[in-house]
């Protein structure tokens, strides 16, 4: 499903963070959203996922209007996200962090054990896939930064979103983990998940994305495949400061 914004705008006092952004992210792709510090990428994610309400404009997902809806509504529509400053539940174990993403269907469903075997297996499956299953019973606060980033992603995946927004997945992680994250994104994409990735690491962006949108001062200034973006002079001017 296509994630689309029309005339999206958000100002904080005098600072215009998003300035009438028309953006479209096609399904099935690894999309990237790049731009200089403070160009509004995180604010864009926050507006799309309902964490903050835009001042104007529209957010639609698969044609469905999600503008200003609560974050859990957006999540249930199939859009998951991670946070720039990685957020996990610090005093829950890793496996509970993942199980917290299970959404009970109704009241009786909600009273069932959170540790039912099938769901625990599924949660452990994601931890295994991300290579942190040996930490399943460790509290998240005792894990390293990189492990917490993987854990956050495991939780998002448990909720089975069709589209996943990642805010700087490579921020502060070591090169080995960086490779692992890149590979993982491509694999998960091959399995049918759409990605929108905000990232400053250009090697990673250029190597994993199909489509890149470039933000400058709260609005897109270019969009296209990596090769095209790399050659675009406006991008070089705005982003690389050349």
């Amino acid at each position: 499903m296509t994630l689309q914004t029309r005339g999206l705008r958000k100002a904080f006092g005098g600072v215009v963070a998003i300035d009438g952004a028309d953006v479209e992210f096609q399904p099935g792709r690894v999309n990237a959203l790049i731009g200089p510090n403070g160009s509004g990428k995180t604010t864009f994610f926050n507006c799309v996922t309902g964490m903050i309400k835009p001042d104007a404009g529209q957010v639609t997902y698969g044609g469905k209007d999600l503008t200003g809806r609560a974050p859990h509504v957006v999540a249930r529509a199939g859009v998951g996200r991670t946070f720039q400053l990685c957020r996990v539940f610090p005093r829950l174990t890793a496996v509970d962090n993942v199980l917290a993403a299970v959404r009970p269907g109704g009241l009786l469903h909600g009273l069932r054990s959170a540790h039912r075997r099938d769901e625990r297996e599924r949660a452990l499956g994601w931890l295994t896939r991300l290579g942190i299953e040996h930490l399943a019973d460790a509290e998240a606060r005792n894990m390293s930064w990189g492990q917490q980033k993987l854990l956050e992603l495991a939780g998002v995946l448990m909720a089975e979103p069709d589209t996943i927004l990642l805010d700087e997945p490579a921020g502060g992680v070591n090169p080995a983990l960086l490779d692992r994250i890149g590979t993982l994104v491509r694999e998960l994409n091959a399995e049918g998940r759409t990605f929108v990735i905000v990232e400053h690491n250009m090697d990673l962006v250029m190597s994993i994305s199909d489509h890149i949108v470039v933000f400058d001062r709260g609005r897109p200034i270019a969009a296209g495949p990596p090769a095209e973006i790399r050659a675009d002079e406006r991008v070089l001017g705005a982003y690389l400061g050349v």
């Binding site: 964490m51 974050p71 005093r91 829950l92 993403a101 009970p104 909600g110 009273l111």
Partner: protein, 347 residues
Amino acid sequence: MPSASSRYLPLGAGVLLIAAILVFPSLAPNPYVLSSGVIVLNWAVLATSWNFVGGFTGYISLGHGALAGLGGYATGLLITKADLPSFVALVAAALLVAALAVPIGFAALRVRGASFVIVSIALVLILLLVFQSWSSVTGGSRGLVVPRPFPGMLRPEHHRVFFFLYGGLLLLALATWWLLDRSRFGMGLKAIREDEDKAESLGTPTFAYKLTVFVVSAAFTALAGGLYALWFGDLDPVFQFSVLTGSYIVLMALLGGVRNLFGPVLGAIVVGLALEYFKVEFGSTPLHLVTTGLLLGLVVMFMPDGVIPSLAALVQRLRNREQSSIREVTAADLAEQRRREREAANS
């Protein structure tokens, strides 16, 4: 997997608690001790009820005393004004307070942290004013006399019956808390406690969760308050709508440990007995206030997890000194990663 000790410990503690409830009345040497037992059980139910909100969601309410007061007055008024049988009135009152908890929660649960604490205090003060000034219905500051449910029953027998009623209510509240604790719903609530926005972003309708558990908490609190009205037979707004009551409840829960099923019960026994002792030794003096404030401060500063968890952590440390820590696992993990990187670089 939950370890064997974490699975059987609650069971053992539960059996112990049931046994204690069953034998206490026959061991109590006089009616005064028995009545102290009733008071401590009342605190235990209140603290456990409070823990539905405080323990799961991390919202610290100082207003639960007022919810108990509402339960008490509703029970009393349903008996005196609507002629309902005592225990029908008790249940009806709890349902009424649960219904009232919806708009209260709707207003209060919109704000977090210190703001929520302040809103919960405001609730108490507003209700105190209402019940004091609306004297045609509530009896105002003269108080409300609630007819006894068992007329003609002698004092000691009366205490004994209420001790068991409170015991049953406590077990019901504990069973409900236990059920939620292990449920998906409970996992969502704990996620709210840890990081509300994050929980919301994973698809948890956090407001509906908070409101639901607040209503459950209010219903149990009202049952305790209603039972108190039936037992004590006399309600005074100053005591029913007091921030001090709410503070004692919070102190008990925090002292015993809010993440533990039996924490609030343990806290209620310790603080409840201390309160009774102070009352006998010193009467009701400002010393109460000072001691409560001091204890609350000490617990929050030095044992934010409560007494049970702090002791459990100590036992755990003493028992598995040799067990490797998570940080060591992390270090091993890193070493393995470096080794693989080196290999990759060499090849």
